[in-house]
């Protein structure tokens, strides 16, 4: 009887030892030596206090961990942090900001490990629906550092929270936003720092000077799209989407300001955005007109393919700053840097960014673009004159311009048919 009881006790102990996860202590002795900072951070974290050990997040396959194949992404954090996970997924941060789409497998010199940028292991289905031509133009290494260090925010909590810390002090500091929200294309951190909000924050503290989180993550929400009325590229949302968002933002502003004051300030921002968009569209029209007449240098069909659109002119959010013409490169700066700085500067109440870094640059860009367009047209004068000896080449140029115009809605089908017939008639006449 005694013997049977001992046997049963052994079985229970063995089963328990197999079913319980390895305690953090199993990893700690070795990792205190190998990765001491990670251990120190974990030891002072809320995870340690809640007895959430290494294996809970990292799994138990050490080989996989060493190979970097057991990354702790949002799927690991989500089940425990469900509210934050849901808010994040509903926000701009969670909506496919993961860069990429478009398989890089057949591009030259690719690192096979970069499949994980877009795919789960063994799956051909893309993780994200977002397309990014600029990502697809990068080398593996540049894509990893220059794109994914920010654009992994879709699936990585650690992108803001860091890997082993759980201190909210880190993520409540605007510096944690600065990793991505700075620089020439969207310097929100610099704008905030040098605005009255930032100055008050630095001098009088958070009770007087709001941070990024105060307005964009109210009450600790992970929905960073709260109160935003335009796309990340600065295209205004339709009224149906913008109006409720504006009300949300006004509620935030009204915690410190009179509602009317806040409304007027944001309305001024809307006006700056609309005026800036008009300048931008004028420049964009010049470029399309040059393209219609085959005057871009080089034309899209004579340069490397755009990763998403092929040999076509692209001036939307997928435009490139490389393998393009000089005038398009000017437009890239105008749109991605100067337009963004003007309108984001206005909404962040920063005078210098709105005017000198933004509006002034935007208007000077238009001067440059017009001058470059004139240069291209003047140069083509000689080219067109040369085509006088080659009626077919002149006719082709005319047909191409007509087709381009009708395709982008700058000419009706009826006008197109009439103009096309004229070109073909001229060609027939020239053959006599």
């Amino acid at each position: 009887m005694k013997n049977r009881f001992a046997q049963l006790a052994l079985v229970v102990i063995a089963a328990l030892s197999l079913s319980l996860p390895a305690a953090a202590e199993d990893c700690i002795p070795c990792h205190r030596e190998k990765t001491p900072a990670a251990v120190r951070q974990w030891e002072t974290s809320a995870h340690a206090r809640a007895k959430i050990g290494c294996e809970k997040c990292h799994g138990s396959d050490h080989d996989k961990i060493v190979k970097g194949e057991a990354r702790v992404d949002m799927k690991v954090c989500g089940p425990c942090h469900q509210k934050a996970f849901k808010e994040h997924k509903a926000s701009r941060h969670g909506m496919g900001l993961h860069s990429g789409w478009g398989c890089t497998r057949n591009l030259a010199n690719r690192d096979p490990a970069e499949c994980r940028f877009c795919h789960e292991e063994g799956s051909t289905a893309p993780l994200s629906g977002v397309q990014c031509a600029r990502f697809l133009k990068q080398t593996s290494e540049m894509a990893e550092i220059g794109c994914n260090y920010c654009h992994n925010v879709e699936s990585s909590c650690a992108s803001c929270h860091t890997n082993h810390n759980t201190s909210l002090a880190i993520v409540r500091d605007p510096n944690s936003c600065a990793k991505c929200h700075m620089g020439p294309d969207h310097p929100q951190w610099e704008m905030w720092q040098t605005s009255l909000h930032g100055t008050l924050n630095a001098t009088a503290g958070i009770s007087t000077g709001p941070t990024c989180q105060t307005c964009h993550m109210p009450k600790g929400s992970h929905n960073v799209s709260f109160g935003i009325t335009m796309s990340s590229g600065g295209a205004p949302y339709p009224a149906k989407q913008a109006e409720p968002a504006r009300k949300e933002m006004l509620q935030i502003c009204s915690q410190c300001h009179a509602p009317e004051f806040a409304r007027k300030d944001l309305t001024r921002g809307d006006a700056v955005r609309s005026q800036s968009l008009t300048i931008l569209k004028e420049a964009e029209k010049i470029i399309w007109d040059l393209s219609d007449h085959g005057l871009l240098d080089p034309m899209p069909e004579k340069r490397p393919e755009h990763p998403l659109s092929g040999r076509k002119l692209v001036t939307d959010n997928q435009m490139l700053y490389e393998d393009t013409s000089h005038i398009e490169r000017l437009f890239f700066k105008m749109k991605k840097y100067d337009y963004a700085r003007t309108i984001k500067g206005a909404y962040h109440q920063n005078p210098a960014y709105t005017h000198w870094y933004g509006n002034a640059e935007l208007k000077m860009d238009l001067v440059d673009i017009k001058a470059e367009a004139n240069r291209l047209r003047e140069r083509s004068g000689a080219h067109v004159a040369g085509n006088g000896e080659n009626p077919a080449a002149a006719a082709e140029e005319a047909l191409r311009a007509l087709k381009s115009k009708v395709e982008r809605g700058a000419m009706s089908e009826e006008e197109y048919a009439v103009e096309k017939a004229k070109v073909l008639d001229r060609l027939k006449g020239s053959a006599k």
Binding site: G122, T124, A392, L399, K403, K420, A421, L424, A431
Partner: protein
Amino acid sequence: MLPYRRYRSFTIASTFYLAILLVTGCARLPIVGALPDGVAVTRLTRVEPASPFAWNDGGTKIALVADTFVIYNPADGKSQPFGAAPYEIGWSSDGEHLAAVFPHGKDATLRIFNMRGAVLSEADISGHVTKLAWRSNDELLVAAVTVEQLSFGANVKGLLYRWQGIGKPAATTLSETTVRPFIARWPAEKLYQTFTFALSPLADEIAYTRLQDPPAFSPYVKIFIRNMESGAEKEVASAAVTSAGAVYSADGERILYGDGANASHWLDPWTEKELAIIPTPGRTIALSPGNRYALIDGRLYRDGKEVVAFPATSEGAFNPIGGRLLVRYDDNLYMISGLGEPKADKTVPAERERFLTLRKWRSEGLISIPDYQSARERMFPQ
């Protein structure tokens, strides 16, 4: 069980076929049906089974593989040796050069010979060559297929090389498909067959096949036409993977393609209007230069009607100046002579350039199909 009437027809045809074999001997080309008056069959020479053969543009010499690579003169039966055996060959239109493809591991070596058998140019390319054609006397087009085996299937890529005989051939990927594992296990030849092309008689367009492998459906090929100057393409038809693809009519305005399963179709690829159907799947297709004759799956058609049938596994090539047809069956090459055909019209060079311009514009959508037709009629009244 076959129904009795079908069984009887089958028995009669088989007996007839066997009788012909017995009477004519194995070195004769088996023929079902009576040859038209004035048409004769001559056995020319022994060739390697499944080896390439090609007429020169003047229709006076044949490049073929009989043990080795030779140029055969059908007038006197003499052969000029050219060396090792290639697996694809093609004459330049001036008849001065001969391009040939040789295996090079998984890849291929292109060589251009002069008529004395000297190698003028040589280049290595990736993949197995499925077709070559001279676009002009200075430019060679070569279709090649690469197959990369992956853990979840295979990547099958169709490359079109353009080579002026100098430097490295320039490759354009025309077809790329990641296929499922069961297709990845197909014999290599079957995968290679999924990418081939035909050059239009005006040398400005190709009609090529592109493998498709949609989930939950059988794989098939799409047929595209591509303008070589503009690079513009149009999808015009689809077919089973056993299709021979398409060939162009003499005027370059229509294509004849096999659907690989039931019939061959004459199609206007621009209006997508089907012009005629020939009831044979089109797994091998050859057209005579004036389009009066077609050899499809071993069946010889004249003006759309079947005249005689050779074995379905035989392959043919019409003499570029008309009147004669080469048929390779097993390891013998035969010549069918006495095929009367009006000579194809050849446009004068100035008109040709303007015509090509119109075709290029049509391919790019710069002019519509009615624009093209009316401009063509006005510029080149019949």
